[in-house]
């Protein structure tokens, strides 16, 4: 079993990309996905990941800006001469050291130890490889947000950013909901969708700062813990729901509960930090930009491999561009949606 060290890491990444390109004709399935300003061609095997590529994205439409294409190979031994994934050979592994070493060589990458799961990307050539020991040896979070690191690297190279935030919108204007897990983002998004508001995502959305702050949809999956699922009435509404996911949450698709087609973009007018107040009524009050930045940036940077400084700078610029608020969440989903809707209506008028 080969072992990779920081010294040999760039060579290994290039080796994997070359091996996958040489094996291109042997991949049994090709999926094409159209995302904002990006067409992705994915070569892989049939199965869960191939299915996820069919229904895991919100397909882009009417995109005004130039689109580029990238190729991703989701590979494993058994596809032509694809090798077994290497293991890590240095005594210590740090995400930052790993990413920095690859960035110095013009590459991006991520390694998940538990599964010897590699993801490497060449942003110049827009070619990436995900190498697994078998076709289904991927982390449990992959199907809900397929190819997430590749999207992160590609968009970051173009000054955009996958941002860990929920969104709600009205007539093309929207808010970003920032905070770590459990802050109330997903519940607020679902409450808004069920009561007539729009959203472009509850977990990861594509943000850019060109002509103000805008957010675009990427992933179609929403999630709710069993308590929220019941409180929102989704247990009765989505009777065909599947089992709980790896986080103990129900997953469903935005189209299942959205009042209309998912908008292609929302122009963001405010950054909000939700928190569950325990009170009955919701309220919105100004928050310091420091606190908003500390709610927005950490999870958005730490849950993504590499591009830490560019993310910190972009989130800093975003926070300075927007008014920031603290959203105290009441207990009634309809009342929460009404509070956000009234805020958005005031921002539009």
């Amino acid at each position: 079993m080969p072992r990779v060290t920081l010294e040999t890491l760039p060579d290994y990444a290039r080796y994997l990309i070359g091996a996958a390109e040489s094996a291109a004709a042997a991949f049994p399935v090709t999926r094409k996905s159209r995302l904002p300003r990006l067409d992705i061609t994915t070569h892989l095997s049939p199965g869960t990941l191939a299915d996820a590529l069919c229904h895991g994205f919100v397909e882009a439409r009417d995109d005004e800006a130039a689109t580029v294409g990238c190729r991703i190979f989701v590979a494993h031994p058994g596809i032509a001469d694809m090798p077994m994934p290497a293991q890590w050979g240095d005594a210590h592994y740090t995400e930052h050291g790993f990413a920095t070493r690859l960035a110095e060589a013009g590459l991006r990458g991520h390694f998940y130890h538990d599964l010897d799961f590699w993801q490497v990307y060449d942003p110049q050539r827009r070619v990436g490889v995900q190498l697994m020991t078998t076709a289904d040896a991927f982390p449990p979070w992959e199907p809900a947000a397929p190819l997430r690191p590749f999207l992160h690297w590609e968009y970051a190279a173009r000054g955009m950013r996958l941002t860990h935030a929920g969104t709600l919108g009205l007539e093309g204007k929207g808010i970003l909901l920032a905070g770590s897990g459990g802050a109330g983002k997903s519940g607020t998004v679902a409450a808004g969708l069920l009561n007539g508001l729009d959203s472009v995502g509850d977990d990861y959305v594509l943000v850019d700062l060109e002509r103000g702050v805008s957010a675009r949809p990427l992933f179609s999956t929403l999630k709710q813990d069993p308590q929220g699922f019941a409180r929102l009435g989704l247990k009765q509404r989505l009777t065909g729901h599947g089992p709980l996911n790896w986080q103990g949450k129900y997953t469903f698709h935005i189209a299942d509960i959205a009042p209309r087609q998912v908008p292609a973009r929302l122009d963001i007018i405010a950054l909000m930090v939700p928190h569950i107040s325990g009170g009955k009524a919701s309220s919105i009050a100004p928050a310091s930009r420091r606190d908003a930045m500390l709610a927005l940036a950490p999870s958005g940077i730490m849950q993504m491999p590499g591009e830490r400084e560019s993310g910190f700078r972009l989130f800093g610029d975003l926070t300075r561009l927007l008014p920031c608020y603290r959203l105290s969440l009441g207990s009634d989903p309809e009342e929460i949606a009404g509070t956000v809707s009234n805020f958005l209506a005031r921002g539009i008028s």
């Binding site: 080969p2 072992r3 990779v4 060290t5 010294e7 040999t8 060579d11 290994y12 080796y15 290497a86 293991q87 890590w88 050979g89 240095d90 005594a91 210590h92 592994y93 740090t94 995400e95 930052h96 050291g97 130890h113 770590s180 310091s288 930009r289 420091r290 606190d291 930045m293 500390l294 940036a297 950490p298 999870s299 940077i301 730490m302 849950q303 830490r308 400084e309 910190f312 700078r313 800093g316 926070t319 300075r320």
Partner: protein, 138 residues
């Protein structure tokens, strides 16, 4: 000759942004965030730009003992390191900012999402040659 009370940002992995005078610092290598109070933000801004601790103490806005404790924390966190450079003057706007500060000197660490250092069981490897292990020509 090192100036005993001049400091610099400890490494290129320490990055920071300012929001309405409030500083947020990120250690890229560990993923730890640091949020400063208003007075702490002013002191961080001054020290990280080469203003001496003595110049800060001379403003009278901060007690010397409190300043020394705060600097010790910044050194302990690896945010600042002693510098060998001559001190820079304290800008007038920072003097005003410190005089107007309402919060005590403080810095909060946000490390719930910080990296874990993963130790690989390399002891199980007979030949930790890494990849690719290039064969030497005979």
């Amino acid at each position: 000759m090192r100036q005993p009370d001049v400091y610099a940002v400890a490494s290129k992995d320490i990055v920071f942004e300012s929001f309405d005078g409030d500083a947020v610092v990120l250690d890229l290598s560990t993923g730890k965030y640091f949020g400063f109070s208003d007075s702490g933000s002013g002191v961080w801004q001054a020290l990280s730009s080469g203003v001496s601790a003595a110049a800060l103490a001379e403003t009278g806005a901060i007690a010397s003992a409190e300043l020394a404790t705060f600097i010790a924390r910044l050194l302990e966190f690896g945010l600042l390191a002693p510098a060998d450079t001559a001190p820079n003057p304290l800008p007038g706007d920072l003097i005003s900012q410190l005089a107007a500060a309402r919060e005590p000197l403080s810095v909060d660490v946000h490390d719930d999402l910080a990296d874990l250092i993963v130790v690989d069981p390399i002891h199980e490897v007979d030949e930790p040659l890494g990849w690719p292990a290039v064969k030497q020509a005979n």
